[in-house]
Symmetry: C2
Subunit: 205 residues, 2 copies
């Protein structure tokens, strides 16, 4: 789908709670704040360093470019907001995942970030690099739910995990961004019913 | 889904090619140009009238408000760009529809309109009224494909047409707006295969 985010994730090199980890977190938080305040186009290593009270050299040492920095900041943020569950049940995992997606997308911060990205993407083609890196990683993480479902026999062997996740989340984004129809957990459950064989309730298609 | 666009479509009252119909068309074209140039928030009856060289009173007589005017202008435009086919085959109709959607969404004008709407929607909550009116009408038109498929026995009785159309087009919008993955007709065909029972090719899920 996309190139790996970066070589050697510095999160792994950083002692949790150490000074370097704290600076890292301040930088990633500053990136999200800059995105919310000024958008992708105006974001720069200089502005992020100033906001995070970090040295510019630290940023240049840790991130190859703006795309990598932004993708990592968004992953850190969405990783906290939308954890990938592992309950032992495909349907339950999908429910928890979609419900977290809805909660995040319904929050002012989640909406603002999404709209800023989409709006900027019309003017800044390079934004696609950050978007693809971010989503490739999110799809890999969420895809684990589908893979475990296949292993347990809840989904047919050969199920395309990325395509499954696309069909799971895309109706939510369509309603939120395009048709302005309401999204709720009942709607998410309906999508899950349509995607999962052996429906517990009568299919509605 | 949403209130009907307006009482008594003036398109029907207007003699095609007549002076009044020409003014109507100039107004609707001016609305799209204004949206592209300045966005929804700044659009006004005054600006549209000036651009279309029409009287403001004409606009106030024909449209109840900005939301109705914008929804009708977008419907006129997308009606030309994305006709609803009726070939006698569900799969062929869905193919033609999605391929037209992809062509329109890939055009600079289609993309600019969509991004401007999404970006403005964060700041202008009333935009949801225009979006819902537009999409309710587009879903009704496209839903005819699904209804004919049910009548011909190509889809099960009781198929929810709006939910079917949502699952048909949402993966395209997800890729275009959110994940920045490429969309092409092969991808559309894959979505159709996943939605239609009795697949001609082996299902990929």
């Amino acid at each position: 789908m996309a190139a790996p985010l970066r070589r050697g994730d510095p999160q792994r090199r950083l002692r949790p709670g150490g000074r370097s980890a704290r600076i890292n977190e301040a930088i990633l938080t500053a990136v999200v704040d800059e995105l919310l305040e000024s958008g992708y186009a105006k974001l720069s290593f200089e502005r992020v360093a100033a906001r995070a009270q970090a040295h510019k050299a630290t940023l240049y040492r840790r991130w190859a470019g703006k795309e990598e920095l932004v993708a990592e900041a968004l992953l850190a943020q969405s990783g906290r907001a939308i954890p990938v569950p592992d309950t032992g049940s495909l349907r339950e995992d999908l429910r928890l995942l979609t419900h977290a997606v809805i909660a995040h997308m319904s929050s002012p911060q989640g909406q603002a970030l999404l709209r800023a990205f989409i709006s900027d993407a019309g003017r800044v083609p390079e934004i696609g690099v950050a978007a693809r890196a971010y989503w490739a990683e999110r799809f890999t993480r969420a895809g684990a739910i589908v893979e475990r479902g296949v292993e347990r026999g809840e989904l047919p062997a050969g199920t395309d995990t990325a395509f499954f996740i696309e069909r799971l989340i895309s109706p939510l984004f369509l309603r939120l961004l395009v048709t302005a129809e309401p999204i709720d957990t009942a709607y998410a459950d309906r999508i899950i019913d349509a995607l999962c064989p052996g429906d517990e309730r009568p299919p509605d298609t």
